[in-house]
Structure formats: C-alpha cells, structure tokens
Symmetry: C2
Subunit: 349 residues, 2 copies
Amino acid sequence: MSAPTSRHPTILEVAREAGASKTSVSRYFGGERERLSPALRQRIGEAARKLGYRPNQIARGLKGGRSRLLGMLVADIRNSYSVAVMHGVEQACREQGYSLLVANTGNDPAQERTHLSLLASYRVEGLMINAAGQPTRELQAMAAQGLPLVLVDRWLEELEADRVGLDNALAVDMAIDHLSAQGYRHLLFLSEPVGLASPRQQRWQRFEQRLSEEPALDGERHDPALDGSAVGALLKAFLARAGRPAAVLCANGNVTLAATRALQALGLSLGEVGLLGIDELDWCSLVPPGITTLAQPTETIGRAAVQQLLARLDDGGAALPPRHTLFSPTLIARGSTRLPATDNDKETP
Amino acid sequence: MSAPTSRHPTILEVAREAGASKTSVSRYFGGERERLSPALRQRIGEAARKLGYRPNQIARGLKGGRSRLLGMLVADIRNSYSVAVMHGVEQACREQGYSLLVANTGNDPAQERTHLSLLASYRVEGLMINAAGQPTRELQAMAAQGLPLVLVDRWLEELEADRVGLDNALAVDMAIDHLSAQGYRHLLFLSEPVGLASPRQQRWQRFEQRLSEEPALDGERHDPALDGSAVGALLKAFLARAGRPAAVLCANGNVTLAATRALQALGLSLGEVGLLGIDELDWCSLVPPGITTLAQPTETIGRAAVQQLLARLDDGGAALPPRHTLFSPTLIARGSTRLPATDNDKETP
DNA sequence: GTCTCGAATGGGAACGTTCCCATACTAGAT
DNA sequence: ATCTAGTATGGGAACGTTCCCATTCGAGAC
C-alpha cells in the first residue's frame, strides 16, 4: 500500500500514450516491426522510451507458452569443470535469446529431484542436466511431456536422451600413450569413488581394458574417498609394490589436487613419480615442474549442449534417435611426466 | 501440432478430477492447506498426484506479481570468488523458497546493461549486483521502481543501495600487520588495474595510508595488466630497487596467480620474497612452501546478500537508509610469508 | 424457530501478454 | 461505379493463476 513502487508500465499504457492499439505495440516488441507503418513505428518507439516500458516476460511466457528460459541442473557449482561448461552454456543461451535458470544440487540426489521439479514449474523450454544421482524416473516423465533434455558429462543408462561430453575412452588412451611414451611402466589409476557416475566408470573401464592389452605395462586402479589420508597411504603402498618408473593417472581435477598434495607430503618429486591429470586447472602450471593434464574443451561442450537443445526444440519432437556428441581432450605436457634423466635405466631399484 | 507434448495439467483439470473448485486447489498449493477440510485436502492431493500436476510459476507470477525469482548479476562467472559467493546466494535462495536467475556479464559493461534489463523483464523480486562497469543510471531507475538492490563486493558511489562485502581496510591492515610481524620491510602492493572497481580502490588507498603511517615500512603500488610479462618485469625492478626483506601483497586471486608465476620465472623462492594474497584458492596450499592468504567468507557474503534483499522485500519500502554489511577475512599463514632463518639479519644485501 | 456467526467452499475478474479474426482503407481491375 | 486483394490496424478471447467476494451450512444464542 505504502510501497513507492511506481508500477511497471504495461503494453496498454504505451498504446494509449502512442495513440495506438495494444496489438500494434505487441507487434513492435514481438519482432514484427516491418508490419507497422513508419509513422506508427516511431510513435510507439517514443512512447515506450518515454514510459520506460519493458515487455513483461512472465506475461509473455504465459500466453505464448514461450518462457524463453533454459534450465541447467549442475551437480556442483563449485567444481571448476562445471563452471567452465556453464560459462559456455550461458554464452550460447544469450546469443540465442534465451536466459538461463541455474539450479545447483550440491551433489545431493534429494536436492536434485526438488530442483528438477522447480525448473519444470518455471516452464523452461529445455533442460541441461549434469546429474548428481540417478533421477531417471523424473527425467523420463519430463521427456515424455515433450521437454528437450541434454545430459552433460554424466549420463544415465536407462534414459534415452541426447548426450554431450568428453570422449572418455580417448582421454584414457591419450593419457596411457603419453605416460608409456615418456617411459613410465607401472601405472596407478586414481579416481573418486566410481559409483554410478558414468565418466568415472568409463575412464575406469578403459584403463583396465588398455592395461590388459599392453604387456609392457602393469597397473592398479583405486577409488578412495578423497578426504582423510587414504590417498597418501594408497600412493605409498602402490609405489612400494610396483617399483619404478611409476606414474599416477588422476581421473579428474579433484583427484589431481589430492594426489599432488599426497605426493608432496611423501616428499616425492613430480616427474620422478609421473603425474597426469584429466581436467586442466589454473594452478597446474604452477606446481613445479608443472603438472601434465588433459584439458577438456569445456566451453565447446557447453555450447554444444545448448545447440543440441535448440535443435530438438526446432524439429518439434520429430523423435529422432538420441544423439551423442563427444569431444576430444587436449594434452598439455609438463614436467610431471618427464622422468629425471639420471634415473633412465634403473627400471626396478 | 505433431508434438507429442502431453500438455501440463492445469489447476482446472485437477479441480475437475478431485471434484473441487479451482480456488480450493489453488489454496492447496498456495500454502493454505489448513483452510481445507481433511476430506477435500486428501482428494486434491490424490488428484494432483495422479495427473502429475505442478503449479505453473509463470502464471502464478503474473497474477500475484510474485515471480519468486531473485536475480544475480555476476561480473565474471569464471572467477572463483564470484562462484563461491554465488554458491552462498543460491543456497540461501533455495532455503527461502526463491529461485535464482543468473546473468554473467563477462566483465563487459554493454552486456551488463543488456542483462540488467533482461532480468527486469523477468520481474525478479530483487537483484544482487556484482558490477563490472558503472550501470548507475540503470540501477537507479530500477531502484526507483521499488526493486530491492544489493551491491555485492563492488559498489557504485552514486548509488544509494545496500552493500555486502569484505572489510577491505581491515584486510589490508591484517596483511600489512602480518607481513610486518614476519619481518618484511619493503612491500609491493600489486593489483589488477584499479579503474573504478571499488574493492581495488579501497585496498589500494588503505595500503597507501598505512604505509604513510609506518616509518618502519616502505613500499610501492602498481596495477599492471595481468596478461603479458609486465608483472615479471615489475617484480624484478621492484626487488632491485627495494632491497630485502621484501614482500608482495596481491590484491586478489588473479594477481596471486600472476605473481606466483612471475616469481617462479625469476627463480625466486617463496618466503625469501614474501607473498601474501587476498582470496584463498584451492592451490594456495600446494605451491611450496604454501602461499599465505586472507580468505574471504564467501558463502557468508552470499547469504548475507540474500538476507538483506529479503529484509527489504519485507519492510515494503520503508525507506530505511542503505545498510552496509562488511565481513572480516581470515588469515591463513603459510610458508610464503616466512623468512628463511639464515637470511635473518642481512637487511639490505 | 429465527438470527448470527464462522468455517468451508466456489464463481468470476484480473494480471499483461499473444494471436486470431475483424475492420478500414487504398489501389488497381473490371 | 463495383469488386477484389492487399495492407495497416484494432478488438477480444485466451493463457493458468490468485484473490476478492459471494454462498452454503451447521451450531450455538436468543
């Protein structure tokens, strides 16, 4: 009542001011300016400017069913990979005239369900999902209602939906090839708990497969919890067991961080024990002698997700089969995968 | 036409299914369940579940004027400080039953204006602003329309609005006190180009003030562009000029990154040349011997912003004076501000 | 038995758009 | 002159809610 809110002007007020009808004003802002006579066009433009009119997206969304909103469900907004992808998504959205409604689930499956229905209630026109858990049922329901869905990075086996992400098998291949070429023979694959997260599963499996194919290499796989001292103990035991030259392949950025910490705590220098991480982080070049990484084209992945969504939106449910778009990582070789020259020939000390 | 979209059920369909009126269903979902008889309540609940009904927020927002949407304008979504604050914002929003519409301006003032009016067109109920440029005019207009505004971290002098952020003077004080206590005498304050960014200005000014008050200390201030080799050259020249023991105070995370790179390139070890950064980053403990930082309570800052916004929303424009909420940083002391024992007494070599 | 009151429920207008359809006018063809 | 087609414009219904205002009904007071 006492609010000093000088209400938003409506289309009707602009029409009155311009001596036109609301239909004409609607056309003016709805991208049909060419249909208006130059005189009317000008009058409307002036009136709108004078009143500070801005079309109400809410009302617009109600009538037309076009909310011009795209939703993105992010497992962990503090994860730099997620943020980088989101950045690409955001840019692409803007370029296409959409806004982005972001929901962060904090890796909590319960939150995930809540947020999913929240996004639905805003009638987003499409949804990008970086799943924390397995909200398959909910997503199937949404897909059945005709909502375009794109799974980003992580996917759900039972869900027939478009997917965008890294070519995980290729990434592991590149990692192993590089480590092998650099002279490392004993490999430790280190992951966060694999669980149901598809990228972790894929990287994990590919590692096993490749190792079984390469007689010159041997290795182990582990997926410890990253908090606590498990990583350090694991590394120590592995190095004792495996001998040299040994290297650690980190399945994602968090693992790289934990492994680097652990190696430092053990007083081991990078390179002498090889270290290669999937995901490039801004500090990887900083820790001497630099950590070798496989960088994901995060921005591209984000843009691809939006593009895929809009393609679905366009073809109006032509029920094309799900499309999977995979991207290749880029190897950034640094000192952490360079064996010290002097140690060249003492294979197993 | 051919779309397999099995339309969202409406309140009317639920009402029909439950043998009730739309008003009752509206009450059921509008948080007035107690007003309904247990029998009716149950029938509506069942009908809604059966049809998979979900209130349409768009329609809801139109009639009631309550979009249940809060907007946040972020200068750079890839900046870990911004993301951390955003995380707090997002959590607080969720807890209060709001959703968050995020707009990233990529530090581009033009984008900023565009996004501001975009957010306005979705009729967000409040706006958190982490400004890239100086959209004072636009913000004044929005504030005049009764839209609650909170400036986060960066603020605009001419704009009378609530502010939430770090106590920058205190941060610089703590930094200088720590460096001084650790035995450093020659200080270099390094910032990104100060320009109009208020936190940079405040830190910059406080540094000058403090230095003029402390005869035991001397120092310089610089704000080079971070790309290119300017930082390295600057550091080298400063160290030659100033003598030892010298330390660098980095005004934010980006600077810390650049300075660390530059010191490494110069072959200088951390600690021998002191390094203290404002903003804690996850790699600061990794670079030997660890980088001393002043951590901001980012999560708290984000939550405070939302809280402030909702407070304004509640008092319905009681025109209270703008409120400024400042938070204290936490010092995390590491090796980069510990002088090597042997160098204790060669003040100026 | 009538009156009053409160609790439970429902009808209808309004929110600010879009979009279908009607109308008015101009110009050229007949 | 009349008809046709096209262009510029406007009126009104609809989108799915909320919220104001009835209406109904039983219980207790008179």
